[in-house]
Symmetry: D2
Subunit: 342 residues, 4 copies
């Protein structure tokens, strides 16, 4: 059976990445694409790297017919996303890639995003889309909320450790480096090649990045008590890739063992041998996560490093992984592409 | 049926690219890998981006058993390649990615490569591996010689025009820009990030680049008389991608029509609408070639631009395309991956 | 004596580059800076790399007092530039970095820039600012028109050859590669890091780039008859640097000798030994031009390569060189900075 | 008076950077250059960006005449450096850029560098070259030991805080990102453009990087008791620049005030307004350090960020700053070049 797929917001990077991945999926067919400001154009005009594909023309959302659609990927900006999803037919499954349904608490959402949530019933219904940790709920969910790409990376490096109680919950620092595509195809001065190439800087320093809302929610839920981490993202002069360097108090061997047990059966999460460190190069364009553990010279201190591709495992690949579960397909279908190196 | 595949010289970039592509091929299985200096290591140690794959350990060539091997990809340096291929069993099909069998004339080979050819019988037997133009011979060949990556790009931009007689054969210039992976994983000062990033320069200026041997051979054969082009390669601060800007004397409409006819049925060659120009971005990591045609303000002068990925269509993708033909598989099997952008 | 300097349009890259260069100039002081949309901000806010300098606050042009200003650098967009310069006091010397006064013919200006010229008297008065070839006129000029950065590069590679009659005037091709800062600090999708990094493409193919107006004007004037070149610019994934690869019909030795004679006394133009080729790396951030000459394997054909930094020698450095002449200072004052490598 | 300067090891990046800086120094003249493997070549052959300079030919060290030399910059590898410096005449002043004289304790040196120190008398005599904190000793020193580039960055972010007692000495983490030129012009696979561009990874994780020896020595000396920090360096896909993100326990206001007092008179150290963060872009090619302070959302936690250019302030610029002091020149002579941006 071939599932009919719609992608809303197909003119952004996550939309294009979905098309790239679904193009070779054995059981999915893209039958509708929306992009409001580029309605009427072909996908090949907006993204010439996809010109070899036979795809529907871009349309305005209000012109789409959802009758035969089995699943919608919603790659719209937050705020727009909640408005649009509220109007979709109830029998359509939805994977949302925006921030709108990541936080379960309406007040937390407003605190981090600055606007009140206008679809709180949907918000309560949504399942958090970090596949490896929410599989069962995702299978039966109508609406799955894709995670933040930074939030995903930090959680791969910390969830099993918090769950197992092997680290000090009050001494966690996530120093994260991210490629520029995480900011989307936005026309902002700091995203220009001339401003970014050959340099690096921190941003949203001191606990102001929105993905902290996800860390707070998830880590506290696992721990059963409030957990707040320190988190500093940095912009890398690279297009794809996130590297998280996580500083914890805990024993390196115990941490490595905990990861080994947690990720043993996971098709996309690779734990490196003790002391090795991952590189964003080695996951680029793929749905894989590489995790490294190294003990510090200071006893009881450990560094966990995690690398993934923000557009794939951090966003569109994760979304497809969730869609596979929701549609009863093999979880890895369309996602076993090897990374592109060099 | 699953074909058993060996890759010789698997520790270089073209070897790794072959593994990446074959990993999702429906009818091929890699059963032997060689890398003399890295024998005993796993592919995942040499190329961590391939660590998720279940692959044979790297061995020395002399330790490989070719009994059940159906096809060998030979990704060794030139000169080594002819020595090794001379020793392979006669019932094994071979796709060579080196320069050793591209030139049919032993004197030409020695002129461009500086050493006498030591396997001239094989040299005579080899079929030139530019798939789109040698399909029938490739299907039945025992030994196919993969083309130079620059040579492939220039030929896609010129072969149909020379064959159709629509351009002046004595006024052809190929100005070519190439990413650094074309030089392989060699430890040379000019390939260091610090020496290459943020800069560009021409090299092998004035008609000294070895791929001219292929241009001379192929273009003269098509024209039925000697054809010599001017050719200047440039190093781009990018890892993958070749862009050829080709200056010809001929009518743009006629040239565009000629390409349209020549490439109409080709699954991997896309002719852009008149006046549009390709970008290496839009073919990265894929087996596609994009070709653009633009008339100059000077009457009778035309610019042809062609872009492909040197490691894929320019080398390992082309090799796999040839192998598909040789083994009776669909020519596009394993090769319809969309480009990676951004 | 210290000359009082104003820079109009200081919030763009050429404005910032002027400040960088003048900062260590022994006889100039910046006493006024304009940037309409950023009026009220400090230069350090707009360009944090200049925060160590003691500079006047950015103002709107209409709020500037030109009473004590000796020389104005006008780094405004074309069209705006002619309007503003028309209003400046007659006793102020002006170096304009826009395209407004490069073309001496009003019809040519309108043809290439699409709008009629509204300051044709100034246009007639302006001196073309390619210092090495217009020194005497520049010394006494009130208004000097800085050249296009691509136009400068091509002219360094061709003017002496056309003047000496050593090349075929009807067979000239300029294939040019340029870094992204030449496009300015503009918010355009194709200038984003994610769209440009790791790729390359031609643009304005077929004779449509505006700098052709300068080539036509200058080369025809030197030759005493119409000369039209073919010219294709390409975007490099690099911030600074232009590399021109120029294909000519002419004898390499004669060409090299002609350059040697023409540039022997030039402090900023370096002719490389026969057969060597320049790199944009080796001129980055400096006012130097490197020129290479290589004979082709085809008799009578030669490749000339030229490299310079578009923001320095191609724009702001050239402007300062001209200002030095206009103010009676040493032509090289403030301009002998070595390139930044790596 | 013009001081006569020799540079030993001029064929590496720090040697070239010294030449670049000294080229415009008002009171220094380079009269001897050594590079053993490139002896007999000109500096312009080894570094074409310096071809405009009139420099002595590269020689072997044993062929140099030190009779008239006032000061030697020694840019040799560690271990070689101690051997060579031992043989220099006693009346020559020396700034060493290697690691050989940074650690005052011979056992510590052997622990971090793996070989016993063979010039322990010189080691005891050497002054640690972090100019801002050792000015008086440097002025009168015969031998000054340039600091590690990472070590310099971390110390600018921490020394005043440790001295003032405003942070918890047992809770310091330095997460550092560094450009590739810090590794020198070495032919190593991980420094190739194809392996580094578009990616990032941590290295020397867990307390094994040699610059920790400097942190231990200096921070403990300031505190008057052992201080050990956690330190993780990361490789950036950029040629120049170090960004240190330092996590401390302490009050942000108090920390900002402490920096303000410590750096108020420093010509090269700029404290940004509270909450702003530096970028390596904004110091590239210059001798400036930018420091930012931001309070975390967690009370009592603060993030300090520091950016400098590893080849300039982190190495050759620092060396020149020290040489200026040693020779009685203005400390900033030759060093006020503005950063190169973009």
């Amino acid at each position: 059976m071939t599932h009919k797929i719609a992608i809303l917001g197909a003119s952004g990077y996550t939309g294009a990445e979905l098309v790239r991945l679904i193009a070779t999926h054995p059981a999915m067919q893209i039958t509708a694409l929306s992009a409001d400001r580029k309605a009427g154009q072909s996908m090949g005009q907006v993204f010439p790297h996809l010109r070899h594909l036979d795809l529907p023309v871009l349309q305005k959302i209000e012109d789409l017919d959802f009758t035969d659609i089995n699943l919608v990927f919603c790659a719209l900006p937050h705020k727009t996303s909640q408005d649009v999803i509220s109007t979709l037919p109830r029998d359509v499954r939805i994977v949302d890639l925006s921030a709108d349904f990541r936080l379960r608490d309406a007040a937390e959402y407003e605190k981090w995003y600055g606007n009140p949530h206008t679809a709180t019933a949907l918000q309560r219904e949504a399942v958090y889309g970090l596949t490896e940790f929410y599989r069962d709920q995702i299978r039966s969910a109508r609406l799955v909320a894709g995670t933040g790409c930074n939030a995903a990376t930090g959680q791969f490096a910390l969830r099993p450790l918090i769950a197992a109680g092997v680290i000090d919950l009050d001494d966690i620092i996530i120093d994260l480096k991210t490629g520029v595509s995480g900011a989307g195809r936005a026309l902002r001065e700091n995203l220009l090649h001339a401003e970014l190439s050959e340099g690096s800087n921190a941003y949203a320093v001191g606990g102001t990045h929105r993905h902290l809302g996800e860390f707070d929610q998830e880590f506290s839920a696992i721990a059963g008590r409030p957990v707040q981490v320190r988190f500093t993202p940095h912009l890398l002069p690279a297009n794809r890739g996130i590297l998280a360097t996580v500083y914890v108090s805990g024993d390196a061997e115990e941490i490595h063992d905990t990861f080994a047990a947690a990720y043993e059966q996971e098709p996309f999460v690779t734990l490196l041998p003790m002391g090795e460190t991952p590189s964003t190069h080695h996951v680029r364009g793929s749905n894989f996560v590489h995790i490294g553990v190294t003990g510090d010279r200071l006893p009881g201190k450990t560094v966990v490093t995690a690398a993934l591709d923000n557009l794939t495992k951090g966003s569109s690949g994760q979304a497809l992984q969730n869609a596979n579960l929701m549609l009863g397909e093999d979880e890895t279908a369309g996602l076993m592409l090897a990374p592109l190196f060099p």
